[in-house]
Point group: C2
């Protein structure tokens, strides 16, 4: 393996040859948190229209009982299960995010890896290791495609995600580096997904197709399919013709030692990402009685003013894009992590409206997109002032507390606790899939 | 419908609203010839490794018995059947070509339309009309994407093909223009296929995925999927971000009156396309006894000299890229349409070698890529001189004779005649699919 080794070959050797004991313990713990997070948003997403539509299509197709499906007790072929589960787990847009990947890694990777693990009777550790490999490959490919790929209009969750899903499946199937490269090369002719679908059912579907593409490529290569193994790179390769930056140095830096996946971020509020720094700053406040609040002043980045600054929404959906509303919700004790907090009735509550109307929102040019500053002025004359940056590091313990609290908000405490025990499992049984039917 | 009507909406209105009696009779007759051609290459392609690999994958997945599959008596879900049939019918690379589309229309369109027609119990005329709509849409989208799309590295057979497949399925499912536009918009996030796969199993697979993508999009829209219906066009649309030229004027010219599909070309020789003009010129010669031939001089375009000018191949595959060999084969009465003519033993036949060695090949700068000129000099002193241009028009009668002869070369005369009777069927039964198992 030299500097001239093709990018795909480097990724393939990493995926095929990284020994189990070289997997970083912190990365593996974050992976377990992402698994809990993915299971939570998947189970909470089964009733979304797009989830039902995709699930019903593959259930009507039916087929071999290979893999479990969110929201159904019927098992399906792995390729179909991956399509349905990827779509369902992204339906709420509440899953994890990796800012260097520029995408949502878990929805593609876990959906593909779990389906193939179940089909191939892999054990828990093999599944988790393959998922960690897939996460890392999807992030590295995302970095390699770069911001130009995303800005041009490609949805990295779907495109880079498909390559990560393919790598995870290849690892689960015991492929050597050449077979893994073939799987990535075949994925290159199948990978797709447009940002033009944002705001429609097409966005979650993009996650589903990423997962299905990875499963399909690995399944075909196992049967002897011989594609161009280098179709990801080169002058006619996927990257070059999809506005990829192709910075192999950045994408391969520390591969095998540094786990970029560890920087994944979980969403802790079921609303627009532009509100999250404000909500985190509010969470740092001491306990404040809402009746004592004179005014709340929020400073944020200019970008969000046209995105999520509805001053007086009347619907639950509108509340998800309203600084004033979510600030009032927090002080009144409504969970901003729970989906059913955001409803039309809430927006009309006199207590909430009164508090909401004491909130101001303004731009501070010194703040980054990930930062916010909140000042609460009390009737007594005192003030509390807190700031937050979503890019700030968070300890593993804090992450666990937050992800488990989110799971509890979505599914109830008992179910969340049971799911977390499952995610911590180190046995030979792959029992995670038994919870997918919900 | 005005000049400002979005491109997708124009295609959708054409697909949904073109009445049966507005379908051009000549185009419909050419469509029947393409159907015979597609069935012939599909049935002849079932033993190719890529066909077996894709078929075995979907057979192992199994599922609802909705649609027939080339090479299997087991029916499968329409989406799976389309994937397998598209791959199988392109495996020999012997299917039809449309030069304005820059692709092979039948492999995507018939594979999708037949699977959905069978699933939906459509009759023969509904199937043929939907296929003709799909062909026309795929060609129009191909023109709209343009040569820049192809030159950049996208495989129009797969990309434009997916939109045509989607339109055919939408028509079969009785969609109105808005539903059809939604089907095209959803296809935009799924369409893919790289030229980087040329020369590998990935090329025929690209045809399969085009067909499957069209079936999938229509199936989801029928269930209520709401995508961005204009994701094909606009600044973030499929065309703009895949190096599409976006010349709506050229792509929509005469839509509904002129059927660009009629210009489709069928391959009549199971060898490299660069040899076809030479073989057609030879076919125009009077009957010549091979023993009387002193020499054969072929003039061709420079482009082909590095592609298919192997002077003395020793393998059947080499023979498919050899002017000298195919010229000798023709004069000795070996069918250049039959797959099994090209074998290693033929290349060693003393009679063939002797004649082959009397062939010269040279470049004539005055010739186009589609043209060739052949001069046969006889021992008696006389010469015969014939030229051919693959772009020259061919009468419907001549086309029928040639396509049926090709079918007979691939499948035997009796089977070819039976298939042609099936293609001419105007009954309410859709019996074409009964022949797919072979």
């Amino acid at each position: 393996m030299t500097a001239e080794t093709p990018f795909t070959q480097r990724l393939a050797e990493f995926a095929a040859n990284t020994p189990s004991d070289a997997m970083d313990a912190d990365a593996m713990q974050v992976l377990r948190l992402s698994l809990l997070d993915w299971l939570s948003v998947g189970l909470a997403g089964i009733h979304e229209p797009v989830s039902r539509i995709c699930r019903d299509m593959v259930l009507d197709e039916g087929g071999a009982a290979q893999a479990s499906v969110f929201g159904s007790t019927v098992k399906l072929p792995a390729r179909a299960a991956a399509l349905s589960n990827g779509t369902t787990s992204h339906a709420l847009d509440y899953d994890d995010t990796h800012f260097a990947h520029i995408g949502h890694p878990s929805v593609a990777i876990f959906s593909a890896a779990l389906a193939v693990a179940e089909r191939e009777n892999a054990n828990t550790m093999a599944f988790l290791e393959a998922a960690l490999i897939g996460m890392e490959v999807s992030i590295r490919v995302g970095v390699w495609l770069g911001r130009s790929h995303y800005q041009t209009g490609f949805h990295q969750t779907a495109t880079a995600g498909a390559f990560g899903a393919a790598a995870a499946c290849a690892r689960l199937m015991g492929f050597d580096a050449d077979q893994t490269a073939a799987t990535l090369g075949l994925t290159a002719t199948r990978a797709s997904g447009l940002k033009a679908q944002f705001g429609t059912m097409g966005k979650p579907f993009n996650a589903g197709l990423a997962a299905a593409n990875g499963v399909e490529a690995a399944t075909l290569v196992a049967r002897g399919f011989v594609p161009n193994p280098l179709a990801l790179e080169g002058a006619l390769g996927f990257g070059a013709i999809h506005a990829g930056e192709g910075d192999g140095g950045a994408a391969l830096a520390g591969l095998g030692q540094d786990w970029m996946f560890t920087d994944v971020r979980h969403k802790f509020h079921a609303c627009c990402h532009g509100l999250h720094a404000t909500l985190e700053a509010l969470a740092l406040m001491p306990e404040i009685d809402a009746g004592e609040v004179e005014r709340i002043d929020i400073l944020t980045h200019d970008r969000w003013m046209t995105v999520c600054n509805q001053p007086a929404p009347t619907t639950g959906l509108g509340a998800k894009f309203s600084y004033t509303t979510v600030a009032a919700m927090t002080l009144l004790g409504h969970s901003t992590a729970a989906l059913n907090s955001y409803d039309d009735a809430l927006c009309a509550q006199p207590e909430l409206v009164a508090l909401r109307d004491r909130v101001t929102v303004a731009v501070d040019p010194a703040l980054e997109e990930t930062q916010a500053r909140v000042t609460i002025s009390l009737r007594s004359g005192g003030t509390h002032d807190r700031s937050f940056d979503l890019n700030a590091p968070m300890s593993l313990g804090d992450r666990e507390t937050r992800v488990r609290a989110k799971a509890a908000a979505l599914l109830g405490q008992d179910r969340a606790d049971a799911l977390w025990r499952l995610c911590l499992d180190r046995s030979d049984d792959l029992t995670v899939y038994t919870v997918l039917p919900g």
